[in-house]
Amino acid sequence: MPETSYSVLGIFETPDALMKAIPKARAAKLGEVEAYTPYPIHGIDDALGHRKSPLGGMVLVMGILGAITAFGFQYWISAIDYPIITGGKAANSWEAFIPIMFEVTVLFATFTAGLGMLFLLNKLPFFGHPVLSSKSITGITRDRYALAIEAEDESFDSAAAAQTLKDAGAIEVEILPAPDRSPFLTSNFILRALGGIFTACVVAGLAMFFLTKWFPLLAPMKYMQDQPRLNAQKASTFFKDGHGMQQPVAGTVARGFLPTATGTQEEAASLVNPLPRTKEVFAEGRKVYVNRCEVCHGSLGNGVGSLTAAYGGKPANLQSQMFREYPDGKIYWAIVNGKNAMPSHAPYLSENERWAVVHYVRALQRAQNAKDEDLKVVAP
């Protein structure tokens, strides 16, 4: 028997006996009166003076929250973030959101009802309750009805409580210690079992990590990747020339790649840059310059790029007097036709991209040779 007792359990054989004992136990006012039964007993809540369960309200609130969440989520995706028209319906046609709103409402409400009941209201799982380790528990979950007088108080009079229960008709009385509130369980077995589950999770996680690391290309079904089709650059017996990739019809011109600046550089001097000087154009020009020009001409356009030393050549210093005085057309001509060691960039830069670079080169030149007036332009 424990030194300090916190609760006394009285066992009854029938629900009637239990119900009759409840008022007597409550009248003794020795502590909280609680019943432990194998199944719910009708009317016991009133007899014990329980308040109504707040679960209904919780479920209602969470259900409404689920509906709002589902509607907001679907509306934001379908009408705002990713407005794709399907079935000819307006992007914000909300009628189609109702089925999923219903499902999410039920989902939220269910989890609130189930988990809210277990975790929030009943404070389970809790393995340290003295009733669980009492010798009466086998009866309680089988066919016995227990009434407990409980008080978490050192001054609890367990003898008086036991006598009260006996007087009320209990066939057996058991005195129990205080609940063990150490981290949620008491049994070593349970700790070991949970530890085992945790270890298994860690092992499985590590196994997955290394499996995917060592066999990264393990594809369960590769048939959709290995299709019987002709890839570019592959040989083919189908075509006469043996190439998988065929030349376009002679004279084919891609959009934006009309042959321009076909004459000499002097003839090109009269060409005018058709692009306006906008932020977008300069940004485009900068992108092309960084990708195509910078390695040789350098980020400042001074002919010192990252490749210059290794290459041993002498890329043009675009900041020099000569290039600063070049008309736009002559720079354009050099991009299209190439000059000295510089190859033609026409195959992969469209007309607009070429002209954008020209603008950007002009900007670089002006930035490196800035005058006082330029500062005034920037000043607010």
């Binding site: 629900p15 019943a35 199944y39 009941m117 009943n122 309680i140 979950t141 089988r142 066919d143």
Partner: protein, 468 residues
């Protein structure tokens, strides 16, 4: 019916008296000894034999699915224009089977049908197993199931979102919700029973497992109060799901324009069909359980009688639905619809149409006779018939409607392959394997709920009103 304590039973005509829910003397203690004993005893030889059969079937299914993954969906008979065939038939079939469990556990609970308590646990378990079988099919039908998580709307590097106007996405939500809610409902019901098992068992290992699963349930009156409330709320929520899940499944068809699919009767028609097929499966399994596990005093002939009545009434609803399909085809004066309906009765697959009609409408009519409802032979015959008939009903809806739609040049006859049949057999194997395992490791009858409705289980001054 609520009886006043003052009214003596003699005043009530015999036909109106609710018969006892159990046969013979059953006490809470004897109930535990009877039901909770199964997991503690060694299974009989027949159980292993049955398990061997179901595992073999499941293995055939696994091999068929594996073959499908290696070869691709071409291993099945699906081909233009019948892109939905066995996979969707089986999906709808299995989701439907699950509905009986939810109906028994939720709707009958709300109606305070106390007889449901003895069979609810098994029916709920069958719901969960059926939904597991059902989700296999959409998963393997996508061809690359390891990418099936793309079905969920989650932020991704492709900056794509799912299409919330697609009934197929509604299905994803509906089936997942259905599974989660069923599982929650089932587990909550199990907790007090597992607590009983925890306090009975002498095996250390079982004690640990049950202790964790029972989350420290101790039967406190305050806990029961919240528990009952939660159970009532879940029953209410699950009731909505019974009606919604198969309605959403029917939207997959009804929102399209295919003749034979595009009908407003589809949602109620599908729900009735689902309950119909589910009850047939429950009757089939319960008869076996009742006989082999010696539960005749708990699962009484009255249970089977009532369930057979449900099957009969559902059969009549199905008959009405089939007639309405014909009526719609005729009254619409739409030649495509008319052609589609004639295909069901006279087309290449006309035999499937007649299998459906005879198994679902004609054979169950035998249940009008009380003797048939009390005879294993007839009820098993009807149950097997309904299971076959409902499978063929989905075949009729899906394959017949698809194989000849608006464009005659695209018409083609669909033929399933052995792999199709292998996967179907496999899901039956998985389903019955799970049923067999469940019957051995968990209480097949909700002992707590049955205890609460036994004679003298409730204080005498509170009448016979029941809360589970």
């Amino acid at each position: 019916m609520k009886l006043d304590a003052a009214t003596s039973a003699g005043d009530i005509p015999e036909g109106l008296l609710e018969p006892a829910l159990t046969v013979g003397r059953v006490t809470p203690g004897s109930l535990d000894d009877q039901v909770l004993a199964f997991p503690e005893t060694k299974p009989p030889k027949q159980w292993y034999f049955a398990l061997a059969i179901t595992l073999t079937a499941a293995l055939i299914g696994v091999i068929s699915i594996g073959y499908t993954f290696i070869t691709g969906i071409g291993a099945w008979g699906n081909s233009s224009p019948v892109f939905w065939a066995f996979d969707i038939i089986n999906f709808v079939f299995w989701v439907g089977i699950g509905h009986a469990g939810t109906l028994i556990s939720a709707i009958l609970f709300l109606f305070r049908k106390r007889w449901r308590n003895a069979i609810a646990r098994f029916a709920e378990a069958m719901t969960i197993f059926a939904v597991i079988c059902a989700v296999i099919f959409p998963l393997i039908h996508v061809g690359r199931p390891w990418l099936a998580y793309w079905l969920f709307p989650y932020p991704n590097q492709r900056a794509l979102w799912t299409n919330f106007r697609s009934p197929l996405l509604w299905d994803v939500f509906a089936v997942n919700t259905y599974f989660s809610v069923s599982l929650m409902f089932w587990y909550l019901g199990l907790i007090p029973d597992i607590a009983s098992m925890r306090d009975r068992t002498t095996s250390k290992l079982r004690k640990v497992i049950y202790t964790i699963l029972a989350v420290g349930w101790r039967g406190a009156a305050t806990h029961w109060q919240h528990y009952e409330k939660a159970y009532l709320l879940l029953a209410g929520l699950a009731t909505g799901l019974v009606l919604s899940v198969h309605s959403v499944v029917s939207f997959d068809f009804a929102t399209s324009v295919v003749p034979g699919w595009h009908m407003t009767i589809f949602p109620p028609y599908f729900v009735a069909g689902a309950i119909f097929a589910g009850f047939a499966m429950v009757v089939m399994v319960l008869v076996v359980v009742r006989e082999t596990m010696e539960l005749k005093n708990l699962i009484t002939m009255r249970h089977l009688d009532v369930m057979n009545k449900v099957i009969l009434s559902m059969s009549c609803i199905m008959g009405y639905s089939y007639m309405m399909e014909g009526f719609t085809a005729w009254y619409s004066m739409n030649e495509f619809l008319h052609h589609g309906f004639m295909n069901i009765v006279t087309g290449t697959y006309g035999w499937a149409g007649w299998v459906t009609i005879s198994c679902n409408i004609l054979i169950p009519q035998i249940l009008w006779f009380k003797k048939a409802r009390a005879s294993y032979f007839w009820m098993i015959l009807v149950a097997v018939g309904v299971t076959i008939g409902m499978w063929f009903e989905r075949f009729v809806i899906i394959v017949i409607s698809l194989h000849q739609d608006f464009l005659p040049s695209a018409w083609r006859i669909y033929k399933p392959t052995m792999v199709d049949f292998g996967v179907l057999l496999g899901t039956f194997g998985i389903f019955f394997t799970l049923v067999l395992l469940f019957a051995r490791v968990l209480p097949v009858i909700a002992t707590t709920e049955v205890k609460a409705i036994l004679p003298d289980a409730q204080p005498s001054h509170h009448g016979d009103e029941h809360h589970a």
